[in-house]
Structure formats: structure tokens, C-alpha cells
Amino acid sequence: MAKRTGVFVCHCGSNIAATVDCAKVAAELGKEETVVFSDDHVYMCSEPGQSAVANAIKDNKLDSVVISCCTPNLHEKTFRDVAQAAGISGFQCEIANIREQCAWVHKDKAEGTEKAIKISRSAVRRVRHNESLEPIKIPVTRRAMVVGGGIAGIQCALDLANAGLDVVLVEKQATIGGHMLQLSETFPTLDCSQCIISPKMVEVSKNPKVELMVYSEVQEVSGYVGNFKVKVLKKPTYVDPESCKICDDCASVCPTVVTNEYEHGLSQRRSIFIPYAQAIPATYTLDIEHCLGLNPIACGKCADACEAGAIDYDMQPKVVEVEVGAIVVATGFKLYGQDKMHEYGYGKFPDVLDGLQFERLLSASGPTGGQVLRPSDHKVPKSVVFIQCAGSRDPAEHCSWCSKICCMYTAKHAMLYKHHVPDGQSFIFYIDIRSGGKGYEEFVHRAVEQDDVMYLRGKVSRLYEEAGKLKVQGVDTISGQLVEIDADMVVLALAMEPSDGTAEIAKTLKIGLDKDGFLAEGHPKLKPVESVTAGIYLAGAAQGPKDIPETVSQASAAAAKVIGLLSKETLAHAPTVARVIPNLCTGCDMCVQACPYDAIKLSAAGKAQVNDVLCVGCGACSATCLRAAIEVRNTTPRQVYDMLTAALGG
């Protein structure tokens, strides 16, 4: 029986109509053999537009529809739902993308119209052989994984656990807490960072619903939304956390001295170490990269010193497979590279610091016990220059993006510096002050009015050392004057970059990166916490620079999405999966080998057999089969040939 298709061409206001003659497209499509109804509408996605589709389906007994509008990423679901509600299968609805792929990228109306007709006609020819399908129901694993144990990951894990879900929190470092733990006080309220994150760290470590996997990395992920299988590598810490008494006997005998990452290079640690006294989990870790060797003949001092016998040189790396229904990626940021900021003497002059190092100097638990001292001579700096946008907003040399938090933390730094050194003077070189946020603008004003911070609008042109002083030359573009400051210390507000390993984890999870290397969200406006892959969500600075309140909001938002997903007993799996035509199949095994998902097996009768739940409909099998004996439902070779004819003007 011939199909009865309806075609609906959207003007999208003037977005499409400016380049495409929508009425002509509708009229041309009306001439198609299977099209019994065609019309154009100003906004198809609006309520009247959707009703027009629903009514046309009922009035004209349509069994299929083609909507010529924007990208299917935006409204395929909308119109499939409309079709379903109007009594036909959602899979009888196809979208012809005539906005992003046509109207917006061409100017000539005749050309645009011609292309829109070809695109729409190709969708009509496709839908001609579409089947009415029902979504496949698959069971859901009601457990979630959170990757990254900073504030984003901790918040997300807590929200998930409090909703009754089991959570696996994976952290690469030996301890959770992330960068927030390195901060002194937080803007705009100046509460102590440790004081607000530590209770959350304790809570997450004590919550029976949360399994903490520190010193661990995600290695491999298979499966799909609702049913992921994740292989996690647990690196050996060589210390049994249960027996470790955190007495420090091991570290005091360790002969190796290593730069302390937690203090951002401002102090040293031993190869066996605990990053800081309140670390969670509270245990030492043996850093094998710097240890003299696990062989007791080489050293073995720590094991001898440990009375609790907690040190075990024979500990092996372990790969654990975890089944989860959803994954949240919260892998955070790092500061833009030390090796890339030569113009400000970063890495060359010891008193040129980055923002995190300055945080450590301000912090009561820091290497100086909360005193602001110059790393070079341990004297109190009386004049400090802060340089904003060090690496940010500089597409020619460094990063094109605004790192968003630097204006605020620099104001905070200058303010706290004044609190520590009341007779000191701070200067801030800035391009603009971006202080959007609750209480942020007032905070910057407070820095200027109460703490005498001198703001200079301009960039630093030269920084060099002379007679123990750092000479900072720049222009104050407001007065138009050259400025030269003799500084005792310079603090760079370095750009924020995605943390090391972001590209790798994105690759492992098959989620995209944006042009700057941050994790790509599903849609810049409407899917800010979803990744492009179903069941994988994003939280925190790994997705883009953001401050603590924003990070926490996004983490909770991601948790809410996961809770929503895992609240159902079953999930709908797209039924557009491969199907075997048994009398054509010769059992040659080629599709079995082509399938990346192990979704095809040969039956006892020697015919290919598809596991609908594992199949994702990629079509690799169909493109490999020499006899056209396997095809993806609703993208069959026959449909593609028909689409080709239409695309080529036939």
C-alpha cells in the first residue's frame, strides 16, 4: 500500500524564509507520489505549528510526515512526539534540515530553494519505506560513576547518594578535594575554603552509598546509556590505608625530596607522603616515580620505619570493572602552562608566582604558615603587582577565551594581601573588570575603597629584574602614561585550561571536546550539563572556566539529570537497529567482524543474528555485507538509493 505522507515546511520566522521560498518547496513536494498533504508554516515548532501537524495527520489519514526545518538535533524529538501523540509511530517522522545545512549558509534564494527541495525530497523518499517501530526497552543499572574528586565531583556524588543511588567516585590523585582545597579564602564572602569543603569531603567519604576509588583512572568504557561497563585502573599506593596510622615515621626517613604538587611547587615532600594533614582518605602514598625502588636492597627505609607494617612493596595495580547506568565527568582545570608565559618571567624569576601559589602563601595551612613571604629571600613583599589576563583573551599568543574567575580572585588576592601586609601596596594590571555575579561588583569596589588596591588599565609590556626588584613596565591606558613599578613580587592570573588527561578521558568516553579543549556540552544553551553521548554528563571547570558557585550548581544539575535517568526501571533504546534478511544471508561472518559492539553472532543455522539491545544502528554491518542481507531499520540501502536519487535532482 502506498504511503500517505505529509510535508511541513517551516519558515522559522525569516531564518529559513529569507533564503528559501518555503511555499515553493511545499508546492514542489506536493507533487511527490506519496505526498498527500503539504503546507508551510511560520513556526512549525510553535504550538500552532505542532497542532497543524497533529491535525493534518488525523484529517488526512497521514501515516508519515516530513518536517523541513532546523537540524534534527533540535526538534526531531519534538515532532516525533507530535506524530506519536497523533496516533502514528514517531519513527514515521523524518526531519529535513533546511536551516543549518541550507538557509543559513547560502544567500541566493533560487539556489537555496533548489537545495531545500532536494533535501526535503530526499527525506520524503526515505520516509516512504520507514517502518513503524516501537522503542526497545532495556533494564537500567541504578548506579552512577563520577570521575574527578574535586568540588564538582564531591557535590555531584553527594547529591546522587542522598537521592538513594549507589555512586562510584573515581579520583586520579591519592586524595579528594581538588583545587578548592588549595585555596585560602573564597570570594566574595572570604570564607575559608578548607572550612567549607572539608565537611563535604568527610561526608562523601563516610556515606555508605559512595565508593571512593582514589589513585585510580578510567581505562576503558563500553556499553551504552543505562548500562555502561567501566574498567578502572587502581594504581598501587604501596600503603594499606586500613593499617596506616598517619604517624609520619615513613616520610621522616625517606631519603628522596620531591616538589610538592599540593603546595604548587612552593615546598618539598618525600616520595612517601600525605599531601596535607587532613587528606581524605587519610593515608600515605608511595610515589613510585620518585622512590628509589621497591626493592628493599635499594632502600626500604620506610617499610623498616613503619611499626604498623602498613607498607607493602608487593602491591600490584588492579583493574576493576564497574557497571554503572550513568557517568558524570568532573575532571577540572589546570593553570595555563609555566613553559608558555616567558614574557612575564614566569618560571625564571622565583618571585613571579601564579594565582594558586599565591593562594598557598595566603593559606594558614600553606608552606609559610599563612605569611606572605617572597620565595627568593623569605622577606615580606611591600609592593605586589598582579597581572590579569596572563594568557587569557590573547588569541595571537595564548588562549582566546576569558578564564572568567581571574578578575574576582585577583581582587581577592590584593585584598587579602593588604590584610596580611597592612603597609604593603598592591597594583593590578587589567584589561576589563568582569565582575558579574551576586555580590561580585561590590567586592571589587571594596578592594579599591577599603584596601587601597591600585587598578591600572593596561597590559604589562616588560618585566625584568634589577637590583633585587622586579621592574614592571606597562601603560595606564586611562591616563595614557607609561608606568614603571618596582615590585617585590608579581602574581600572574594565569588562564584556566582543561586538566591534563581531559582529551584522553574524552576519547575513552567518546564525548567531544570544544575548540579550546574543554569538554563539549550537548547543546550550548539547552543541554549545558549533558555531553553529546547519552548517559554521560559534565560538571565543573572541565566543561569551561567557572567559579565555585557555578561549579556546584552544574554538579547538582548533572546529578539531577542522572537521578532522572536512573529513576526509571527501563530505558528506551532506539529501535533503528540492524535486521538480517535470513534467506540472503550466507553466514560469511563479515558483519560479525565489522560490528564494533559484538552485537552480531552466527546462529546454529549459520545465519547472522542481531542482539537488538547491543546494536546501536551504526550500519557498519550493512556497509560490509556483499549480499545486502543485513540492513539498519529506517536507513536501508533501498532508502539510501532513493535519497541519492532525490539529492541528485531526480
Partner: protein, 144 residues
């Protein structure tokens, strides 16, 4: 800048785009209002690995002057390895069509990610220009 080609030969081109990278890249080109040649008509498929060599031959027989297949960058395939499969098949097919007398330049694979709107526009313009220089494809076109 789109050159004025109104008098020039207008090649018929089909572009197979994978849904996850290249089609999303074309969406980004659209959102960014990048202008490019309108000759190539896109057909979005789930994966470049699902583009059968027969589709390409069929496109030529239906009168295509050029065929483009665009997928995710190597290593970034949404379906793990589909783009590698596509690359292998297309490499072999390119040899075959060359043997059949069709210029290998008429048939090309490109990698365009979801973040590469500008690259998508560039690929479209360059491929169209390349096919325009070659002129109409007649070797495999069905004579009906």
C-alpha cells in the same frame, strides 16, 4: 567570499555526513552563518562506516559529479571504529573507480568534527571547486 560562479558549470555533489561529527559540524557552520557553495546536498547517516561502497557507485551512476564522505576524526568515532572502516573501504574504492576511469579526485573522504564549522564550509567550497575544474562525470553515469 563565495565567488560568482553563476555562469560556471554547477556540479552535482552528494555529501554523506556522519550524524555525530560532520553533520554537527555542518550545523555549527550554519549557526555561525558561514557561506559556502550550495552544490553539495547532504545526506546524514549514523556513521561514515555505514556508507556502503555501493552507495558511492550508485551516486555516480545516478549522475553525481562528485561524492564526499565526511566522518569523525580518526580515533574520535562515536561508534569506536566506524571511521577507520570507512577509510579502508574508501581507499580501496578509490582504486576501483580510478581503474574504471573516474578521476580519484571526484571522490573524497574528510574528517570534520562537531567543533569545526569553518572546516566544513572550507571542505564544501574546495571540493565543489575541485569538481568544477574536473567538469561533468560521464564514465559511470547511467545512459538512459
Amino acid at each position: 567570499m563565495v565567488p560568482d560562479n553563476s555562469e560556471a558549470f554547477q556540479p552535482k555533489i552528494v555529501a554523506f555526513l556522519c550524524k555525530w561529527c560532520s553533520s554537527a559540524g555542518s550545523d555549527l557552520a550554519g549557526v555561525s552563518r558561514m557561506q559556502y557553495a550550495s552544490n553539495a546536498v547532504p545526506i546524514t547517516v549514523n556513521c561514515s562506516g555505514g556508507v556502503s561502497p555501493l552507495y558511492i557507485i550508485s551516486a555516480f551512476s545516478k549522475g553525481a559529479d562528485g561524492v564526499l564522505v565526511s566522518g569523525c576524526h580518526p580515533g574520535d568515532c562515536h561508534y569506536m571504529e566506524g571511521n577507520y572502516q570507512a577509510r579502508r573501504k574508501i581507499y580501496l574504492l578509490q582504486k576501483l573507480v580510478t581503474f574504471m576511469g573516474v578521476e580519484p579526485e571526484r571522490f573524497q573522504m574528510s574528517w570534520v568534527s562537531a567543533a569545526e564549522g569553518a572546516k566544513y564550509a572550507k571542505v564544501m567550497d574546495e571540493f565543489t571547486e575541485q569538481i568544477r575544474r574536473l567538469g561533468p562525470q560521464t564514465k559511470l553515469k547511467a545512459r538512459r
